[in-house]
């Protein structure tokens, strides 16, 4: 038996207001823009896809299973601008076929600068999942699947059974991502590795006309899945793939609608959630990841967020405030919202020239504009912190 493990990442950053060196007493976050984006994506993606998944779960008598990771920043915005989205996730949770994973509440890079802060954000997120869905997460996924031996050890200590990351050749060599592995130095926690080829077939290539496999249909994809060897095939993609990255007219919803029916034609395939998988299968080896990897870009490293000097300076200045903001709950929340990885992603100059992937909902004209806007806000926050 090979289990299909679908996990969808759901996140929307809180985009910043335009803030110049002259700005005073102005809110940091662009309420109107964030509301507009969220409502649009709710209409195009979250609501219709949740409805479809709910129908599929009911139709296949519990055989169809999926997992989500919802960031705290996303949930906060939903509560404010589109509470019906939260309700639809709660409906899904009630079926018992949907697992919610744990991550940092703020979709942050906290692990890179403060273990203490990292743990606090995990705890906040854990509390949120418990409150919203009455689940105690057993699987952890770090922001952008950032992962290393040390991160895995840390997460193991917190009691998790599984951790998610990228199944890239740089860590696997000749081995397949379709098996469970022990992180190097761990005994209790298992690594679930993304099958990036099969994931990107849906996430990136689904509507690509240059692709020789275009158009991708549920029956074709199911044949590929049925031919895979291994314990589990981990399809981890951004939830916005459905209806937003891939628009409805690409046929993405029909693809999803017929996927359970098509895969059910192959008796060697079933659906499992990540925590079922780590319970059911035994690891076949060890993955050794001494340096932090991620699932982003071709390099699968941290260069999308922390490569150029602007990103490094902004990050460093932000982290310096840690001790000072912790005394003030209101400022602490704002400071944490500034940790969301997207703010650093917007400052990336790496792909600026050919741009497209990084362009998605990027509110800035250039990485330089992203940098000065962030720095102006950080300066203002610093001033507030110091005056308290």
């Amino acid at each position: 038996m090979t289990s299909l493990c679908f996990y969808f990442q759901v996140h929307q950053p809180m985009r910043l207001n335009r803030f110049s060196v002259f700005t005073e007493n102005s809110p940091y976050f662009d309420e109107e823009r964030n509301k507009g984006y969220l409502k649009k994506v709710a209409r195009k993606c979250y609501l219709p896809t949740n409805k479809l998944l709910l129908d599929l779960i009911n139709e296949y008598n519990g055989k169809f299973k999926i997992a989500f990771s919802l960031t705290g920043v996303f949930v906060e915005q939903c509560k404010k601008f589109a509470p019906e989205v939260i309700e639809s996730f709660q409906e899904l949770a009630k079926t018992g076929n949907v697992e919610f994973l744990n991550e940092t509440y703020y979709h942050s890079l906290a692990v890179l600068f403060s273990i203490k802060e990292f743990k606090e954000q995990i705890k906040l997120h854990r509390k949120m999942i418990l409150e919203l869905f009455n689940q105690k997460p057993k699987i952890f996924r770090n922001t952008e699947a950032m992962y290393s031996n040390d991160i895995a050890k840390l997460i193991e200590k917190l009691g998790y059974r599984g951790i998610i990351t990228e199944g890239h050749e740089s860590i696997l060599g000749w081995r397949s991502p379709n098996y469970l592995y022990y992180p190097n130095g761990c005994k209790k926690i298992l690594a679930l590795l993304r099958n990036y080829k099969l994931s990107d077939d849906i996430g990136f290539r689904f509507s690509a006309r240059w692709w020789e496999e275009y158009p991708l249909t549920a029956d074709k994809y199911s044949i590929w899945l049925s031919k895979c060897e291994g314990q589990c095939i981990n399809i981890f993609i951004d939830y916005e793939t459905f209806g937003e990255h891939q628009w409805e007219d690409t046929g993405i919803f029909n693809f999803l609608r017929y996927l359970p029916a098509e895969t059910s034609k192959y008796p060697n395939l079933d659906f499992k959630t990540p925590s079922e998988i780590v319970k059911m299968y035994k690891p076949v080896g060890i993955v050794d990841v001494p340096h932090t990897i991620s699932w982003a870009d071709v390099q699968r490293d941290l260069s999308a967020w922390l490569e150029n000097e602007m990103q490094k300076l902004a990050f460093e200045q932000m982290t310096k405030l840690e001790e000072h903001v912790k005394k003030n709950p209101e400022l602490l929340h704002i400071w944490r919202l500034l940790q969301t990885s997207d703010h650093f992603y917007y400052m990336c100059t790496k792909w600026f020239a050919d741009g497209d992937v990084h362009k998605y909902f990027n509110p800035y004209n250039s990485p330089y504009d992203a940098f000065i806007n962030f720095m102006n806000i950080l300066q203002d926050l610093k001033r507030k912190v110091e005056s308290k």
Binding site: S20, V21, F22, N308, E309, M310, L313, T349, F352, A353, N365, S366, P367, Y368, D369, F371, I372, M375, N376
Partner: protein, 381 residues
Amino acid sequence: MKILMLGWEFPPAKTGGLGTHCYELVKNLSKKGVKVILLIPKRTGNIKHNIPNVEIIEVGSVALNPYNTTRPDDKFEKGYGWNFFEEVRAFNKRCVEIAKTKKFDVVHCHDWMTIDAGIEIKKITGKPLVFTVHSTEYDRTANIYPMNFIVDVEKKGIQKADLIITVSKGMKKQLIEMYNAEEEKIIVIYNGIDPSKYFGLIKKGSKGIILFLGRLTNQKGPYFFLHTAKKVLEKRKDVMFIVAGQGEQLPELIRIAIGLGIMDNVVFTGFLPEEELLQAYAMADVYVMPSVAEPFGITALEAIASGTPVIVSKNAGVAEKILHCFKVDFWDTHEMANKIICLLKYPILGECMRKNSYREIRNFGWDRVAEQTISVYRRTI
């Protein structure tokens, strides 16, 4: 291939992008084996050059330029000398006479001052006409009292030319919208830069110098530069603003600077000779080009070639091509000041920008311009 080219300026006597363009184009065409006869108005009468395949003829006694600043103070003719149109007419007439005695495959005109002759030469010889539009009357006047007579000359040229070259997509759009030009006839060829002439990415400490460089006319937006300076100086005093260039608005700009109370931090340099110009570019911490209208804006490339981060007007042609710079609305002095202050405050910002933009211009040379121009000639023959 032999080209009869009608230009208006040629170094050292030049006041703008047109002169640089003609010089570099002719030089690089010659490298690619294209023969050129270049006709330009006589100014100094002693243009020296050692470009093979190129014959430069200084025509007649014209000693004026289209942006003449030392004209009689006649409001109606705004910016042009009394005899200017007479001189243009005489130049065009002489060019036609010279053309009759020469052999060539294509006649290539630059801007309205030369196009009348081009049209006539095409009529007489039957040779194809290529017309490069570097700027229109609307651009040069920032759309404040454009002269209908000149617009009509431009319109006629655009209609009669076999192919038209513009220096940006923005200019192409303008020709289609305001001059009824046929879209298929227009080819965009961005201006180029020869980085070897400039200081490049040499390391330099911050001196707090902000540079404006251009003709002091409405078109180039020096007024907005001064108001930006005022805003920057409200936040910090250790900044100098250099206004380099000459033009009709100099006295008024000085009055404005005095009125704003910023004269201690503003320097008007007047015309800068080549050597000082290169120094100014390299010395500046930021180059600002707040042009109201800017078909291309070679000076932005020159600043980048000098290792200086640039802030350019959004509507400048150069903004279509260069990614690694700040782009602003020319009237948004608040935003320009914000960006200048941040560039001064975070040196690594300027570092990132100047390194990345320098990389962008490395493959943006004049040989590309020549190559693209040759393919335009080929299409007409």
